[in-house]
């Protein structure tokens, strides 16, 4: 911990003071305002719409933080060679990666906690105004959905670390991370579609394609698993075993990505 903590702390400080954070916070505030406005336009559904929009805003703002603040933190280290500051110390490459990632976790957790506080405030205000339309409503489901979103963002950040370890430019890291996010969000849908009987979807899928999609399915992170916003909005029951397996899946994916990133980093040169 004596080596990880200083790296994590300077990473967090460098991230939280980044101007982009204020911009993202402003966007989030505007979206929360819009939530209140739109929710009141559909009085009967105000509860569902409010919860869905508030959670979507949190995860959108979090995505911006991972993509533009998180990747930039790593990018600056590599492109502008601020990494020399760290590697000139008695710190190994693996310790650098782990410390840096712990700083990212801290940054994501703190910013997401603040955003969640705003979201909860918005929901409480709407709930007090339109008490009658919040009949099917569960704080527990909302907190759970929020927590899984945070885990998904940490996972995406871990994957961006992996990309940063072998690409030569931070722009490529950004593009690869965005592609991973998009694929990760739509993976379940594509797989279900291809596996459906051909008379249902109206065309034949070659076995080769199915194999390819299955391979991609297991290689790419299945980020859609972590999206239970709809269940939360409708206060549907969420099975504890689903949550448990999803959390476990996320942790395993994170540990594997960071381990691989650390191994690749050990051989990386910083000329």
């Amino acid at each position: 911990m004596t080596t990880f903590w200083p790296i994590a702390l300077i990473t967090f400080k460098e991230g939280i003071r980044n101007r982009a954070i204020y911009g993202i916070a402003l966007v989030a505030l505007m979206l929360f305002g819009a939530t209140a406005l739109i929710a009141t336009m559909v009085p009967r559904e105000v509860g569902k719409v409010a919860v869905d929009m508030a959670l979507s805003t949190i995860s959108f703002a979090g995505l911006l933080i991972v993509l533009f603040v998180g990747i930039n933190l790593m990018a600056k280290d590599l492109d502008k060679r601020t990494i020399y500051t760290v590697l000139a110390r008695p710190i190994s490459r693996s310790q650098y990666i782990i410390g840096k990632f712990l700083g990212m976790i801290l940054l994501i957790t703190v910013t997401m906690a603040l955003l969640s506080l705003l979201a909860i405030t918005a929901i409480i205000i709407l709930k007090n105004i339109h008490a009658g339309y919040f009949t099917r409503f569960s704080w527990q489901a909302i907190i759970l959905a929020d927590g899984l979103t945070v885990l998904m963002l940490i996972m995406l950040s871990a994957i961006s670390f992996l990309f940063a370890s072998f690409t030569s430019s931070s722009f490529i890291t950004l593009v690869l991370t965005i592609i991973t996010y998009i694929i990760g969000q739509s993976l379940s849908g594509v797989k279900a579609l291809l596996e459906a009987p051909s008379y249902e979807i109206g065309f034949n899928v070659s076995p080769m394609t199915i194999k390819l999609v299955t391979a991609v399915y297991y290689l790419f992170p299945n980020l859609s698993l972590f999206d239970i916003k709809l269940q939360a909005a409708h206060a549907l029951p969420i099975s504890p075993s689903f949550v448990l397996w999803t959390v476990l899946y996320g942790i395993v994916y994170i540990v594997l990505s960071i381990t691989l990133a650390a191994i690749i980093f050990r051989r990386k040169e910083f000329p």
């Binding site: 903590w5 200083p6 300077i10 400080k13 460098e14 500051t85 008695p90 310790q95 000329p271």
Partner: protein, 247 residues
């Protein structure tokens, strides 16, 4: 204290993959308490050698040790203070925070970090800027913050890559005073420069490197024997390296 055994390094350049020989069979031994000046024109391979010592890049062949430890072992850097060429630090951190980081990773406690920071910040003259983010600093100020960072843990070995570059005359004098002080404390100093005067004034021993090859290593006294000045010695080596007969 610093040993370099037959190090060679090749870079692949750009998309063509053309090979550039940055170092060829570099041999150097720097003794404890010595101030060693590494002199060479731009592109001679000075920074390459220093980055290999800091394990930032890896040699194609050869090994290097600091304080008896192979440089690939991160513990070797516990006794080392390093100032990179044109250093760049975190934009939103202050010098105080940077020094806290340096001290902590070297295992210092908060009190000794504070005491040592006060001394160093006075020495590099950043008193009024120490609580300001580094992005508001001028190039010279960043360089001075970097010097304080290199020295925060009172290292036995100090490696400085072009410590005077980008500094005004006052800054150069400050670095000079620091070098003399480090020497007085018995520290081992390895610094590179392409400026003859800096090498002549501050080093006990110097090495002249041209085109990746070490041309001469000797005490300053011997290099300058017979009333020569360092410029003559250096230009002669440059001429020889270019295959031109010296005048």
């Amino acid at each position: 204290m610093i040993t370099i055994n037959g190090i060679s390094k090749e870079f692949k350049e750009g998309i063509t993959g053309k090979r550039v020989r940055a170092l060829e069979g570099l041999e150097l031994e720097i003794k404890k308490g010595e101030v060693f000046g590494f002199l060479g024109p731009n592109g001679a391979g000075k920074s390459t050698a220093i980055k290999i010592l800091m394990n930032l890049i890896f040699p194609n062949s050869g090994t290097a040790q600091i304080g008896g430890r192979d440089v690939r072992d991160s513990e070797a850097r516990r006794v080392v203070g390093y100032l990179p060429e044109n250093p760049y630090f975190y934009d939103y951190l202050t010098t105080d925070e940077l020094l806290w980081f340096g001290g902590r990773t070297a295992g210092m406690d908060s009190n000794s970090i504070r005491d040592r920071s006060d001394i160093l910040i006075n020495q590099v003259n950043l008193q009024s800027a120490r609580k300001r983010p580094l992005r508001t600093y001028s190039k010279g100020m960043v360089q001075r913050a970097g010097l304080a960072m290199a020295l925060i843990h009172d290292p036995e070995v100090v490696i400085l890559d072009e410590p005077m570059s980008g500094l005004d005359p006052i800054g150069r004098k400050m670095v000079g005073d620091l070098l003399i002080e480090l020497k007085g404390q018995g520290k081992t100093v390895f610094f590179s420069s392409h400026i003859l005067n800096d090498i002549e004034r501050f080093s006990d021993r110097a090495g002249i490197i041209i085109g990746g090859r070490l041309k001469r290593v000797d005490t300053l006294q011997n290099l300058l024997s017979g009333g020569k000045n360092l410029e003559d010695v250096f230009m002669r080596e440059v001429a020889l390296a270019e295959g031109v007969t010296a005048v």
